[in-house]
Amino acid sequence: MTSETTTTTTTGVAEATPAAPASQMIGGGSSVIGRIPWTLIVFLVACSVPWIGGRYNTFLAEQIAIDALFAVSLNLLLGTTGLVSFGHVAYFGVGAYVCGILMKTYNVPFILAFPAAGLGAALFALVSGYFCVRLIKLYFAMLTLAFSQIIWAIAYKWNDVTGGDQGLPEIPFPSFDWLNHVPWLGDLKTSDQFYLLTVLLIAISLAIIHRIVRSPFGRVLTTIRDNPERAAFIGVNVKLYQLAAFVVAGTFAGFAGALYGLFSRGVFADYVFWSKSAEVMIMTILGGMDYFWGPPIGAFALVWLNQEITDYTQYWPFFLGAILLVLLFGFPGGILGGVDMLWQRLRRARRA
């Protein structure tokens, strides 16, 4: 991650975007903590999990990585553009089904099925997004929900293609035979090799999304979030930008879905049910939707909490609900928002 001297947008809404202190804290800035290449460390740690972590931790790490990409793609809408999509799981599901159907039914290699999953999700996001961005607020949320339930209904009922309520079990892993003679990698189990591929693909995806968010295009999206009227006034085609954000977010959700289908060895209609959209939203808010690295931290926290709590009780949803309540009423900025606030307070105290 490069250092950012964020002066936000040109529209004078700098005070409304909490992105500036966040990037000082996590990315650049002059502090010692800021100079440590965190993303590189996280990436290397993630890559080493199969060797040092064992099978269960690899499983958890893969879950976290995929959820992180899914949540970051949602946050492109939620945090960056200010669009409350309650149907983001639709694009995740389209990606999962496209990749799963191609690989299982048609024996298409992963190297083609994976991009096809992103393409499929992008196309559906283009069509549904075209209609969604014309609506505002609650109507937007309702229409995204409707589209995601359409996907669910298709997945649940179109037995010949999607497997209906039986789903598509036993999707084959991509072939890693060519790795056999590579030292270190060749000795790993196929699931571990797939894990490494997942981490690599997700790291690339996150880097791309990060570039998009920090690009002039991303700045315009933030402007639209903060004040759509003003954005329109300075000549921005608001709907077009929102649609572009919608398609990009959908594409990466599709990639996450494709990886998830392979990771969990099957694609099922449950993956596309509307409550999954709420779950990824909770992840995003938990980490902090005002920060690029919020959603991955939320994904990490939620997966970790889930496995800690389900060790003791089957009532995980109850705890999730309770966490959500604490979050909404106590820390609306999420984990990073809370850390950020604490950090600012410490700095002020030190200066005084």
């Binding site: 939620l78 409350v84 949320a141 229409l143 709420a278 009532y315 949803p317 109850f318 609900g321 959500l324």
Partner: protein, 292 residues
Amino acid sequence: MAPSFLFSQFMGGLTTAMFLFLIASGLSLVFGIMRVINFAHGSFYMLGAYLAWQGVQWFHPTGPGFWAASLFAACGVGVLGAVVERLFFRSLYGREELYQLLFTYALVLILGDAAKFLWGTDQLSVSTPPVLAGSVQIFGSTQPLYNLFIMAIGPLIAFLGWLVLNRSGVGRMVRAAQMDREMLDALGANVGTIYTGMFVFSSFLAGLSGALVTPIQSIVPGMDVLIIVQAFIVVVIGGMGSFWGTFWGSVIYGEVLSFGILIFPGFSLFSVFALMAVILIVRPWGLFGRPL
């Protein structure tokens, strides 16, 4: 197709419709006045069903206990609605809709697990009250009396709701709150009480419909998240906030589902969601609503 078959299909659709109307009317009311989409409405409905089952066990497992149990369930859920509104919802009115949506979703999670904790995960069922246990022949098709009762209750509630909203002092206040909350507040009306009252009434309706559904459907975990999407569809078709809209929205939903099964079997689920999407695209405020 035989006319009697079509008729019974029609009546089946109407039963579904009137049930959904009972549920969706409360949802629509809360949306119309407070501009909040309440995901927990389905959970209130589920709790109504469980409380009715509990009441039947307590009062009179076979006989007239059902009616007392239904009232008990509706009131119980109404009280829960009051607590939720006073403790939490109140502080969310000014906030972004994202937080409101997520708050109601948190309730879905918590109440769903609470129901599992209290009543377990087995299917529970309640027998039809003896008075309505029989059935009658209409146009050559057999109609259970209980279904006819539901079909009568739906329009009755709709009519009463319309009467209260449009012909009473309380209704005038509610409509004023719907149009301009701040102005009503400034004029000295107690908007907070109106909001609480509306939320309690909406929860009461959800609890009542949950109780009334028990003789026809078994009570299972997960009925909350399944019903809420259906209620959303109905409210969207009719127009969020419109009482009669919700009524006709329910009828359209019930009949589309009922005849959709005949025309494209397996895809009637798809057709109702597609209908919801089309309405939102063409007329976001619904068939009977007004643009915001």
